[in-house]
């Protein structure tokens, strides 16, 4: 390898710069921060298990979307036999009407910006 | 081999930095377009394709024209083109790259472009165009790389590359055929709905591409030690003469069927282009410029004395290139939308941001040509003068 010294030094500087946000957060004590979400409904059960929803709600929403728009299927039956209207604004946001305290908290923590709201209308939130 | 593009004199770097500045300006305006939407262009509800898609169409022709040097050399063993083929292939790579970029900047939702691959739809001509264009890019990248590498090592290119080169010949025809199919398969657009559109596209491609190649060779001759000799230039100029004559002939055929038949809807777009409709005549001066340049170039090309004179040939090549650029790069696409399916005349003209974004793409294409030609000439030790 030519210029091994320069290349290795370069890689090390690159890695340090890339990972610096993590080190800074740990140093300032924010490393253990976890987003807290609030659930604003009396409903006991979501359309699927909490664990599944936490991990894969986006897959479920994508599937609902395709079923409604492309296959004319609008009714979803959950594992306990309850039926739901497959609608982001009418079903999901009916319970989770507090978008800023529910959806946004995790999404901004993990740095994703779902484009759902470019078109679908956000629920009007009561400012507390 | 790429490192050869990193060494150059002051003139080389000034040119590179100039192109990069244009690219930067184009990119900034593209960011603005992403933010605001395609409404930043001059396009409207009635004229939904314009400058971007027209440049794409024109450049597909330039890309396809590489076949005009590859075919005689590899199929007919026409040795005169030995120094030219690599230039043709590199021009093709740069042109196809610009084509792809022009399509991407024309998309309303470019970040969803991958949907074309995720949901492949063989009934859509765009699907096939994507395949042939990218295939052509890969073929030319591979061929130019392998042949140039062999030249650098002063050995014959490996045998397996020959069938790939032969494949690239029909493939070049296919890219412009499929691109013409995008237009001529639409029953609701009488201006494009003509079987002669594909041959017309090919004829104009085989005139404008080689014309551009001659101009590039003239520039290289001026600034570098590169000199392919007179013979390939004259051969190319003959090809241009035939192709340009056919192109003009095909346009006349279109005019005959539209106006002799008297079919109203087939005449409308021609009337708009040549004379304007109800005072809407923005393209009229352009299309007449294109016609005058076409006739002028043919006069220079038909006459062997002027064709074999480098000065006149250069003027003829510039005329051919500009004539076809106006015809395909402005007229052909826009006129298909005028009048609209509801018989309304809406005019279109590119806006400044639109023109600067397009210029940025062209700058990138020229940067690629510069770098590729620099590499090719460095390998042959023909750089400095």
């Amino acid at each position: 390898m030519y210029d091994a010294g320069k290349i290795i030094t370069g890689i090390i500087i690159f890695l340090v710069l890339m990972t610096s946000p993590f080190w800074l957060n740990i140093a300032s004590g924010k490393g253990s921060y976890k987003p807290e979400i609030k659930i604003a409904t009396e409903e006991k059960q979501c359309v699927a298990d909490t664990d599944y929803m936490k991990a894969a709600h986006m897959d479920l929403i994508y599937e609902w979307r395709d079923q409604v728009v492309r296959n004319e299927k609008r009714i979803y039956t959950s594992s306990n036999g309850k039926t739901y209207n497959m609608s982001l604004t009418k079903t999901c946001m009916n319970c989770h009407s507090n978008k800023s305290e529910f959806c946004d908290r995790c999404h901004s923590y993990v740095g994703v910006t779902p484009y759902c709201w470019d078109c679908h209308v956000e629920p009007k939130e009561v400012v507390q | 081999m790429l490192e050869k593009a990193l060494y150059g004199d002051r003139r080389y770097w000034t040119w590179v930095i100039f192109l990069m500045t244009l690219m930067g300006i184009g990119f900034l305006f593209y960011l603005r377009q992403l933010e605001y939407g395609l409404g930043i262009t001059g396009l409207s509800r009635d004229v939904t394709w314009g400058f971007y898609i027209a440049q794409f169409t024109f450049l597909v022709g330039v890309a396809a024209s590489a076949v005009m040097v590859v075919l005689p050399y590899y199929l007919h063993d026409y040795k005169v083109f030995s120094k030219m083929t690599i230039l043709g292939e590199f021009l093709a790579i740069s042109a196809v790259t610009m084509c792809v970029l022009f399509v991407v900047i024309d998309l309303g939702q470019p970040m969803r472009a991958v949907n074309i691959i995720l949901h492949p739809t063989p009934s859509s001509i765009i699907f096939w165009d994507l395949i042939v264009l990218n295939g052509y890019l890969v073929l030319n990248a591979l061929i130019s790389r392998v042949t140039l590498d062999a030249e650098r090592k002063s050995i014959a290119p490996p045998k397996w590359i020959k069938p790939i080169i032969i494949l690239s010949i029909p493939w070049a025809i296919s890219i412009h055929t499929v691109t013409a199919f995008i237009y001529c398969g639409l029953g609701g657009r009488p201006f494009w709905f003509t079987a002669i559109l594909t041959p017309r596209f090919l004829a104009s491609a085989f005139a404008s591409g080689p014309a551009f190649l001659i101009l590039l060779v003239m520039i290289l001759k001026k600034f570098t030690k590169f000199d392919p000799g007179k013979e390939p230039i004259f051969k190319l100029s003959e090809i241009i003469t035939y192709a340009m004559s056919l192109n003009v002939f095909f346009i006349l055929l279109e005019l005959f069927t539209a106006f002799y038949s008297g079919m109203h809807e087939h005449q409308q777009s021609f009337l708009y282009l040549f004379f304007g409709i109800d005072g809407h005549a923005r393209l009229v001066p352009w299309i007449w410029t294109s016609i005058i340049l076409a006739v002028f170039s043919l006069i220079l090309l038909f006459n062997p004395k002027t064709r074999r004179n480098e000065k006149f040939l250069t003027i003829a090549c510039i005329s051919v290139f500009l004539s076809i650029w106006i015809d395909k790069g402005i007229g052909m696409v826009v006129a298909g939308f005028v009048p609209s399916p509801l018989g309304k005349v809406t005019e279109y003209w590119p806006t400044i941001p639109e023109a600067l974004i397009a210029l940025g793409v062209y700058a990138l294409g020229f940067l690629l040509i510069t770098i590729f030609y620099k590499i090719a000439l460095s390998v042959r030790g023909e750089v400095a003068k």
Binding site: M1, E63, W64, R65, D66, Q67, V69, R70, N71, E72, K73, R74, I75, Y76, T77, M86, T89, C119, V121, P123 | Y36, G37, L38, G39, L43, S44, R45, D46, T48, W49, V103, D106, L107, G108, Q109, P110, V114, N115, I116, L118, T121, S123, S124, I125, I126, F127, L130, I182, L186, G187, G188, E265, G336, F337, S340, P341, L342, G343, K344, T346
Partner: protein, 258 residues
């Protein structure tokens, strides 16, 4: 050293390509929907939906825009106030423009220069569906030419292909130009194409299209062409009707009684 720069770049490039293409290929192989889904029990169904526009009745109340207002309101169609950015699903067009191929200088006065309602024809052989590179616009089995706004990449090939000018593109963000946003229906985002969908969202819950419901003159009749006893079939049996540009072979499913 055997592992030179060129080899490194080659391997890095190949790795990138495999990584980028791997997921879509994997997803395509993966199984169908695992969810238990079904259709609405109350939905309206048909073998082939179609619309009849009774222009005689429509012209009795010239200047009426009830159907247009209703449609554009419930579907959050923006009003940009200029023809360049314009988005519209259903609108009035002069008879001569709507029926370009019916050119006739001495047309009867009750039609000449009179407005005719135009909207998507939901063709049986739709050119827009044929050209769409992502199946963002597709023909349902009941004849509705649907739009999947999630999938549209905004190439506008469908706009070029439509012989009726029925499609609109969102040249810019439509939200600020919607007078009153109806929360139950999505707005669109910049860069996608939109058009009439025969109110698929209303058919799904047992309602007629909004324009049909809004028309007090009953000038719009919506129904199943394959059902010989349907209102639309009775109407077409008893009246002379024409379609827009039938010579193109698109088989438009909007019939005009003139």
């Amino acid at each position: 050293m055997s592992f030179d720069r060129r080899k490194f770049i080659k391997i890095a490039g190949l790795t990138t390509i495999v990584t980028l293409t791997g997921k879509p290929v994997f997803d395509a192989i993966a199984a169908d929907s695992p969810l238990n889904v079904s259709t609405e029990p109350n939905r309206l169904t048909a073998k082939r939906w179609a619309m009849a526009v009774n222009t005689k009745k429509c012209l009795e109340k010239e200047g009426c825009t009830d159907c247009i207002t209703a449609c554009h309101h419930i579907h959050n169609v923006p009003d940009f106030g200029n023809p360049k950015d314009e988005v519209k699903w259903i609108w009035h067009e002069k008879y001569e423009n709507a029926f370009l191929d019916q050119e006739n200088e001495y047309m009867e006065e009750k039609l000449k220069d009179k407005p005719v309602l135009v909207f998507c024809n939901h063709c049986d052989n739709p050119p827009c569906v044929r050209v769409c590179p992502t199946q963002a616009t597709f023909r349902r089995e009941d004849g509705i030419v649907m739009m999947d706004w999630h999938r549209c990449i905004g190439c506008r090939y469908c706009v070029a292909a439509c012989p009726y000018g029925s499609r609109s593109f969102n040249w810019r963000d439509p939200r600020p130009f919607i007078k009153e946003i109806v929360p139950d229906f999505p707005t669109r985002t910049r860069g996608v194409v939109e058009k009439c969908t025969f109110c698929d969202e209303r058919l799904a819950i047992g309602l007629q299209p909004a324009c049909v419901e809004a028309c007090k003159e009953k000038a719009l009749v919506f129904g199943d062409l394959e059902d010989p006893k349907s209102e639309i079939r009775e109407l077409l049996k008893a009246n002379f009707s024409i379609r827009r540009k039938p010579a193109l072979g698109t088989q438009p499913e909007v019939y005009y009684i003139v």
